[in-house]
């Protein structure tokens, strides 16, 4: 597959780069439209939310540990903790929940 592999990599990298590069090179002037400015202001929040919900529920080994991680992340983020703090404690919540689940399952 080695010859084919190079073609695949060039296609993947090429398409991904062009999508990112062209708008950044073309749209240099400040946009005047109030609607488009507002749209671009709200866009990051919309895209990050769509990427998180519902994908987060299948990001870990069990949906319950994902829910625990989500809850911890929401509580800490609401209190405006740093990105790293939120991420680490959310991961810890997943780890603890999965450990508890294993413990419970073994006991039954």
């Amino acid at each position: 597959m080695s010859g084919q592999f190079w073609v695949y990599v060039v296609l993947m990298a090429g398409v991904t780069y062009l999508i990112r590069m062209l708008p950044l090179v073309i749209f240099k002037k400040k946009i005047q439209s109030r609607f488009i400015k507002s749209f671009l202001f709200y866009m990051p929040y919309a895209v990050l939310t769509a990427m998180t919900i519902p994908a987060i529920f299948t990001a870990t080994a069990s949906v319950w540990s994902a829910v625990a991680g989500l809850l911890v992340a929401v509580i800490l983020a609401w209190r405006e903790k740093s990105l790293l703090t939120v991420a680490i404690f959310a991961c810890a919540a997943v780890f603890v929940t999965e450990w508890l689940l294993k413990f419970l399952n073994a006991g039954l």
């Binding site: 597959m1 592999f5 073609v7 695949y8 990599v9 296609l11 993947m12 398409v15 991904t16 780069y17 999508i19 990112r20 590069m21 062209l22 708008p23 950044l24 090179v25 749209f27 240099k28 109030r34 609607f35 488009i36 400015k37 507002s38 749209f39 671009l40 202001f41 709200y42 866009m43 990051p44 929040y45 919309a46 895209v47 990050l48 939310t49 769509a50 998180t52 919900i53 519902p54 987060i56 990001a59 080994a61 994902a66 992340a73 929401v74 983020a77 405006e80 903790k81 740093s82 990105l83 939120v86 991420a87 404690f89 959310a90 991961c91 810890a92 997943v94 780890f95 999965e98 450990w99």
Partner: protein, 238 residues
């Protein structure tokens, strides 16, 4: 233009990129492991990460490579999954201050979800040095994580790998919630986006739409509703 200070220190960008890099380590570790498990060489996995720098696109590309898919399928899949970056680049372009063409060619290569998110939440416009600083650690983290994952296919216990799967989402939540707490309009945008995202994931027929394209649709709908109902008075940093 009455400009507040422009954010353009390399060191500040580098510092802001460290949490992203830590999050990337786990995701690219997973990619490296998956790539080797599915039959690629270590250097092939690392090469893909060095040239692509995108999680969803790389995972999709990996499955297409191992399936021996047609080239047009690869192009189409990458286009749909990564089209959201075009929206992000348009938005990021408004945020950059005095950045020349050559720098734009380099910066756009690293315009990932997380780098974009961190750049856009800065309180003022950003310059090229800040962007280069912001890109450095995540790029190294992404490539290094792939290398380690590919080299040590199953070093971490499954429980730790599962827990690290939540890191990126924890970061996203930490970015979205503080402004959502302060601004009613952002709350509305977030709720609409989450609602449509669930619809595209779970409602029959609609769940056949690829996840990459569903993200674009959710973004367009939620941001457009927000912009129509709550047009902002002035863009931050201007």
């Amino acid at each position: 233009m009455e400009q507040s200070a422009i954010i353009n220190r390399y060191s500040q960008g580098f510092k802001d990129g460290i949490p992203i890099a830590l999050g990337y380590l786990s995701v690219s570790f997973t990619f490296g492991m998956a790539a080797v498990t599915q039959g690629l060489d270590l250097w092939q996995a690392v090469l893909i990460s060095m040239t692509n720098l995108t999680s969803a696109g790389q995972f999709a590309g990996l499955s297409l490579i191992t399936a021996g898919a047609a080239y047009y399928e690869m192009v189409l899949t990458q286009f749909i999954i990564n089209l959201r970056y075009a929206l992000m680049s348009v938005s990021l372009s408004q945020k950059l201050h005095g950045v020349r063409l050559l720098d734009r060619l380099l910066i756009s290569f690293c315009n990932t979800d997380e780098i974009f998110a961190v750049a856009s939440r800065q309180p003022a416009e950003v310059g090229r040095r800040y962007m280069y600083g912001l890109m450095t650690a995540p790029y190294i983290g992404w490539v290094l994580g792939t290398f380690i994952g590919a080299a040590a296919s199953s070093l971490l216990p499954a429980s730790v790998r599962s827990a690290l799967g939540l890191a990126i989402y924890g970061m996203f939540i930490a970015i979205v919630l503080p402004p959502a707490k302060k601004l009613r309009a952002v709350r509305l945008v977030v709720i609409i986006s989450a609602l449509f995202s669930c619809i595209f994931a779970w409602v029959p027929v609609l769940n056949h739409i690829s996840s990459g394209f569903a993200i674009i649709l959710c973004t367009l709908i939620a941001a457009a509703v927000g912009a129509a109902l709550f047009p902002i008075e002035e863009v931050q940093g201007e």
